[in-house]
């Protein structure tokens, strides 16, 4: 196999060390990000699964003007403020209105309303009944941690990029060999190392893309703050307006009411005629119902990366305002950059198949993160280290594995609790979230009592298997949509049920037929009395005496 020129001796050791330190520091946070992110790939599908109200066929034609005026009647919307109307999709068949309402004579409050286009029901969306998909999605960027959560996730992304680059430099010499190093025999350290490098090399483009775009979402403020201060006199809207020109639209709050304006339905028909392949994802209303009203349509296409566009129209004559529009066919680099980053990160350019591929790659990355920790620990599991050092390595690994491996049963618990607690309960979303987070904490703490990694792995899989198998039945009992029925009407609802059935079944199969745990008498590290009196000098060739907590399967 061809060899590339690798790093020199000193550079190799330095890169190795920085890779280890950076990797260990971010590892469990990165695992949480990738694991939650993998599930967040299907967050809209999960929304339909968790909320029976969203299980209805997509209305073919909706009267936009009627539903807007009905919402206005019920909630007294203030169209002087920016109002967004999000369009329904197959998996979320309701309109969502993000607007403002007059809560006193002088002040307005933001409202989020969900409008059902079939029966015209309008609900306040501020206090949703169910938040499974959102909880997972928010966990993906640590939004539950106030203020610093997003930045924390951004820095994890940045150091992930650093780890990827240093890892690439370490393995540069044997890059071609590593691509094929699917070895599952030999010592555990060799197995972990090969798994780590193979998945690192194969997943490299995916991981670089996510490291960079993840840092983008988390640390955008760090990029923009100095540029806005130095180039835009501290006014960030000037920069944003260059990217999203509709943000620069200025309207007069004292404009007279509109007379004989085109209706939203008529304007929508013009968009459909002009872009028949695209669908409208959102319309932004500025001074709707006034003489200078402007509506900006956001259009997109699920299977294209260049598709998103914004078309701003005057409501008085339907004329397109090119200076406030981004037409998909003529958009510039500046208009496209952030669209592309969003599409790459959210995987919305290649249909559900691409998102499934991303899901698998994200889980493989999770496995790669865990193998990294296991290499770190296994490589230090010998008598070059003191008893206390080895105890420390063991405890850190135990904590990491407890936090990471308990995520699957905790997610199963989240999905299950959502079906067990009746939809009619007030404040049920908060209860479900509490069960999830306390459950995760509890599972982590229990896991610390299992002294062997193989024991942690097996027990967590057992819990996940049992809970996971229950999920489709809980959904069937709670909503009546058993997956063998819903597979025809709401395939995504059935898909999530079947996913949990398969995950549960596979977990239980692994627990009972594949995984083995050594008897508890076998301590993973020597006790104080067994500690060698003389420590080996570092430079000497290692006397490998791995006292491993894991047992070879079979």
């Amino acid at each position: 196999m061809k060899k590339l020129k690798g790093l020199g001796k000193r550079a190799y050791n330095v890169m190795f060390h920085t890779h280890t330190v950076a990797g260990i520091v971010i590892s469990f946070a990165l695992f949480v990000i990738f694991f939650a992110g993998a599930f967040a790939m299907f967050r809209h599908e999960t929304k339909q699964w968790e909320d029976p109200d969203l299980r209805q066929p997509l209305a073919q034609e909706s009267d936009l003007d009627a539903l807007l005026s009905q919402a206005d009647e019920e909630f007294q919307l203030n169209f002087g403020q920016i109002t967004n109307l999000n369009f329904p999709t197959e998996i979320n068949p309701a309109f969502t209105i993000y607007g403002a309402t007059n809560d006193s004579d002088t002040t307005t409050a933001r409202v989020a309303l969900r409008v059902n286009p079939v029966d015209g029901r309008i609900e306040d969306w501020e206090d949703p009944k169910t938040t499974v998909a959102d909880t997972i999605y928010f966990l993906h960027y640590f939004r539950q941690i106030p203020v610093i959560g997003l930045y924390l996730s951004g820095f994890v992304g940045l150091f992930f990029l650093f780890s990827v680059i240093t890892g690439l430099l370490i393995h540069w010499k044997n890059l071609f060999t590593k691509f094929y190093a699917f070895v599952k025999e030999g010592k555990w350290k060799v197995i972990w190392t090969n798994a780590h490098t193979v998945l690192g090399v194969i997943g490299l483009p995916f991981q670089v893309m996510y490291a960079v775009t993840g840092a983008f979402f988390g640390l955008l403020a760090l990029v923009l703050l100095p540029s806005v201060i130095l180039l835009y006199e501290g006014d960030s809207t000037k920069l944003f307006a260059k990217v999203q020109p509709q943000q620069a639209i200025e309207v007069d709050e004292n404009a007279p009411p509109a007379v004989n304006h085109l209706s939203l339905n008529e304007l929508e028909a013009q968009i459909h005629e002009r872009y028949p392949d695209h669908h409208i994802s959102r319309v932004q209303l500025r001074n709707y119902g006034k003489a200078d009203g402007v509506v900006s349509w956001q259009i997109d296409h699920e299977n294209s990366i260049t598709a998103p566009g914004t078309i701003s129209m005057q409501t008085k004559d339907g004329a397109i305002l090119p200076e406030y529009s981004v037409l998909p066919e003529t958009k510039t680099y500046s208009n496209a950059v952030t669209d592309y980053i969003f599409k790459l990160h959210f995987g919305t350019f290649g249909g559900a198949g691409l998102r499934f591929l991303y899901f698998i790659l994200a889980l493989l990355t999770c496995f790669m993160i865990i193998t990294g920790v296991l290499i770190w620990r296994t490589a230090r599991d010998n008598n070059r280290y003191t008893y206390l050092q080895r105890l420390f390595h063991h405890r850190v690994t135990k904590w990491y594995l407890a936090i990471c491996l308990s995520m699957l049963p905790a997610f199963a618990l989240l999905f299950l609790t959502n079906k067990v607690i009746p939809m009619e309960w007030d404040g049920r979303a908060a209860v479900v979230n509490r069960v999830f987070f306390l459950g995760w904490l509890g599972l982590t703490l229990i896991g610390l009592r299992w002294d062997k990694y193989s024991q942690q792995n097996r027990n967590y899989l057992l819990i996940a298997g049992v809970l996971g198998m229950l999920i489709p039945f809980a959904n069937g009992l709670a909503t009546g949509d058993w997956f063998w029925v819903s597979i025809n009407s709401y395939p995504w609802v059935a898909a999530i049920d079947i996913f949990w059935l398969l995950v549960g079944g596979l977990s239980l199969y692994l627990v009972f037929f594949v995984l083995k745990v050594k008897p508890t008498s076998d301590k993973p590290i020597p006790t104080l009395e067994e500690e060698p009196t003389e420590r080996k000098v570092f430079e000497e060739p290692a006397v490998e005496k791995p006292i491993t907590a894991l047992v070879k399967p079979g």
């Binding site: 050791n13 890169m15 680059i165 430099l169 540029s227 130095l230 920069l239 500046s334 950059v337 980053i341």
Partner: protein, 92 residues
């Protein structure tokens, strides 16, 4: 196999390098990008490229800090890049 400690720097130098890599790398990368944005006729494409290239340059500088043997040399290079960016920012 853990890295051989004989190639690694002292604790003081390691702390210095950590600060250089994270803060120095950020300052140099930001100054360079904003400087280029200021020096070209249309700053928007450069600033939007910066939303991703800034992280790549930042990480590249982090790696550079660790590859250079002496911490003060890394600091000097980062300072030079920052000053060059600053020169572009304030002279255009």
């Amino acid at each position: 196999m853990p890295a051989n400690t004989k190639y690694l720097s002292s604790i003081g130098a390691q702390i210095s390098k950590l600060i250089a890599a994270i803060f120095g790398g950020y300052l140099a990368s930001a100054a360079l990008h904003i400087g280029i944005a200021k020096a070209v006729p249309n700053d928007t494409p450069v600033l939007l490229t910066a939303t991703y290239s800034m992280f790549l340059v930042w990480c590249g500088l982090m790696v550079m800090v660790y590859l250079i043997r002496k911490a003060w040399v890394s600091w000097a290079i980062l300072l030079l890049i920052t000053l060059f960016g600053g020169y572009l920012i304030f002279s255009f």
